[in-house]
């Protein structure tokens, strides 16, 4: 009457133990990457109703962000321009280019264009553009180098951890106010965030709070 369990089963526990550890590590790594906004949001590049290129407008022609997003320094919401703003130039430039047909049609009929939203914080988060943009935080910190994007891409994770990093050490992301809309601005050589950055923070009395009431209410 032989053994129920074959001989090799004696080595099984060791195999299971080691295998289990390795598999567990892989799952944890997978979840921490794939399940968090670092993956689910970054790289999101939807097709827009009109192939508007920031690279051309803001990069090459150097149009200031506030020309189209004119309320960014007045409200929590940075508005998307209506077709009328586009038509200020495009009545002359590329007046009959087929790619701009939806813009022209939207302008005549006052029917707004449904742009596809890329950067969106959850409903329970109250992000405010005005207080950041007026206080030395540039668009590039959160939206990345938009002036080099032909199609706008979700470049930063915009997760809570992302916001907290900046709120915890604002001196690394603060820049002089007049450089806020200059997306190509790099801190000059002798710029040391500990010295100049902290200097700006103290001078402007920046209190970027870590506490919940700054974003949640």
């Amino acid at each position: 009457m032989s053994n129920i369990f074959p001989k090799w089963t004696n080595r099984l526990p060791l195999i299971l133990l080691v295998g289990g550890l390795v598999a567990g590590a892989c799952v944890v790594a997978g979840v921490t990457y794939y399940f968090t906004p670092k993956y689910t949001r970054v790289g999101y590049e939807p097709i827009q109703p009109v192939a508007f290129s920031h690279e051309v407008h803001s990069g090459q022609m150097g149009i200031d962000c506030r020309y189209c997003h004119n309320d960014v320094d007045k409200s929590w919401f940075s508005n998307i321009p209506s077709a009328e703003t586009c038509m200020k130039c495009h009545t002359q430039v590329l007046a009959d280019d087929p790619r701009l047909a939806p813009i022209r049609e939207s302008f005549e009929k006052n029917k707004p264009l449904p742009w596809v939203q890329i950067h969106k914080t959850p409903d329970y988060v109250y992000f405010n553009h005005a207080v950041h943009v007026n206080r030395g935080v540039s668009c590039v910190s959160c939206h990345g180098k938009v002036n080099e994007m032909d199609v706008v891409k979700h470049s930063k994770s915009l997760s809570m951890a992302f916001c907290l990093d900046c709120h915890r050490n604002p001196h690394e992301n603060v820049r002089p106010q007049d450089e806020v809309f200059n997306l190509n601005w790099e801190p000059p050589a002798e710029w040391d965030s500990e010295r100049e950055g902290k200097g700006l923070v103290d001078q402007m009395k920046i209190r970027s709070a870590e506490s919940c009431s700054s974003c949640h209410r």
């Binding site: 009457m1 032989s2 053994n3 129920i4 369990f5 074959p6 001989k7 089963t9 004696n10 526990p13 907290l164 870590e210 506490s211």
Partner: protein
Amino acid sequence: MSKSFAIMAEYETPAEIMDAAKKVHAAGYEKWDVHSPFPIHGMDDAMGLDNAKVGYFTFFGGLIGFTTGMTMQYFMNKFDYAIVVGGKPLFSGFFAFPVSYELTILLGAFGSLIGMFVLNRLPRHHHPLLANERFADVTDDKFYVVIECDDDHYDEQTTRNLLEGTNAVHIEMVEGTE
């Protein structure tokens, strides 16, 4: 005939097997063991075994538990994201103690169990004794002394004579490999 694994003697009462064990131990065998349905008081000394080392696993398990508990709470509530809560300190031994205490016991318990399994080299689902007919009563009311053949003191005849000198009711060879 396949190589036999060990010689096995069967006894009916704990006293008899205690006596047999003393004799086998006195004869200087190393790779042998006593099998009984329940732990027999005093058998360890009869077999000349020293104190069990499971305690070290438990101790280190508990130590790891306590340190993880304390450092986890310190890291989470004071170091990584310090939040003001209830006017209470960001970290204090008092409120951190219950969780660390529980982790000490948890990892201590795991330590003991894993220590026992590791030291006994269990789980071993395949063993020659498990295929032996008579050996099935070890978990009922019979007691067995098993001396492995590849013990250097083992000799076909002398070992059998030694066992016949005890009150063994039955002696037989156990077939199968390790």
